[in-house]
């Protein structure tokens, strides 16, 4: 067979055997634009693998150096635990804030979309022609209104605006 004919042959062969499959599950690589919030929280808690503290030298010298390093780690174990706990406290706090901030922003964007729709509807009813927004095409009145956003209600006892961004929820500034 010529190499040029192999792919056609393989496609036909794959079609003939399509009924024979393999078990699902296991690693299936996925791309992502950024780490998820769950990952950030997981990574925030640092857990260095102390078995990785070793010499890069081969042979008996390396073994001896590894033993010295591991011994020092054991001696300093209590101190390292203290340092880790301080670092973990900051990491967890930052990752949690990042997650909450993202949720707040999503809720705010939804609220802005809802309010913008309401304004357009009222302007349409009143016969007001809004000035064109920079970078936006003409608005079409009569489009279905967006659904109301799910309100983000603080738990009882929590501050209503932990990040001081409530003033932004009135929508974007600028002429309409």
């Amino acid at each position: 067979m010529r190499p040029e004919d192999a792919l056609t042959h393989a496609r036909r062969l794959a079609g003939e055997h399509a009924a024979t499959t393999i078990p699902p599950g296991g690693l299936e690589v996925e791309r992502s634009d950024q780490p998820s919030d769950d990952q950030l929280v997981q990574w925030a808690v640092i857990e260095p693998d102390l078995r990785e503290v070793r010499s890069t030298r081969p042979g008996p010298v390396g073994k001896a150096v590894t033993a010295v390093k591991q011994g020092q780690l054991r001696l300093l174990g209590q101190y390292h635990a203290q340092v880790q706990s301080v670092q973990n406290r900051l990491n967890v706090h930052l990752s949690l804030r990042s997650t909450l901030m993202r949720e707040e922003l999503q809720a705010m964007k939804a609220e802005i979309r809802f309010l913008r729709g309401r304004v357009e509807e009222l302007e349409g009813r009143a016969g007001i022609v809004p000035p064109p927004e920079p970078g936006h095409g003409a608005q079409t009145f009569g489009d279905p209104l967006p659904e109301a956003p799910t309100p983000v209600n603080p738990e009882p006892g929590e501050p209503s605006d932990p990040f001081g961004v409530a003033d932004l929820s009135d929508g974007p500034e600028g002429p309409r």
Partner: protein, 350 residues
Amino acid sequence: MSLVVHQVIGGAGPYDAITNQALRFRRLFDRWGWGGTDAAVHIDPRMTSKFVPMRSLVPHPDEVIFTQYSAYTPGLRDLLEDHGRSLVLCQNITPPEWFWQYDPLTALQCYLGRRDAERVMGAATVPAGASRYTAEEFGADTVIPILFEAERYGRRGELREPAPAGGEVLFVGRLCPHKRHDSLVRAVALLRARHRPDATLRIIGEPVNDHYGAMVQELGERLLGDAFTWERGLTQEELADRYRGADALCCMSEHEGFCVPILEAFHYGLPVVGRPSGGVAEVAGDAALLTADEDLGVVAALLDTVLGDRELRAELLERGRRRLVAYDETTTAGALRTAIERVVAVADAH
């Protein structure tokens, strides 16, 4: 023309491909009677005799800076912008989206590397890429291929006859998400289930981290059992033995700037099956069986076809030999010398 060419790389380590290529380039410069120093930002203690810190490099305006750019290199852009004669050879920088979920630090390095690449290439007198694909990706018009020194790989391989129901599929490369070892394992599992129950898979390479390596291993053992082998830390001789003992190379990678294992497979007489991603199609030319089909059954069927058809393997071996001629050492040496001389010509013209 006698020149002084200083090489700058990000990190110099004993098992690093860029480092080894820089050392081989230096031997070429020595052969041409050119002087210069090799410098790096991060230097492994085992390489201190061969590389000096980049910050200690103070090039004369007439001297040329040649850098292989493969990762974010602090201070490099400033060095290039302050100097009027530079050649930047951009190697592959994997898009970060392959790494965010599996190795965020590598993802960050890739992100910064790709973000800074445009400015580093912009600061070069002559920007170049290791393949046409990489050159175009980073806005260069010059190609300087990887230096493939066939003599380093020992004797060439000959046409082999795989077992009727078997055959060993090989892949060599770091265990990184974009290399898609998961697809490779599944393709070989389909090969065994549908066509060749005794086929085996051997993968060779260091993992991006232990956790990712464990996930690949778990998948391999679950779908292939004893037919799956993962090896790492092999010597050049051991690697050559693995190539000589294999029946086909399968590369399912979805992002490759060049893919040296394809040339290695050609050297050892292995047929190549895989994805036409990045620089793979360019390097393999017409000497490999490449498919972008999502259905891994097509990859399995290609493997079965190439393992069972002696005439096809012979033709691919012959074409692979021709690809090696296209990428032999003299080609790269000539392209490198021409590019450096162009740096001087462009600088002199200004």
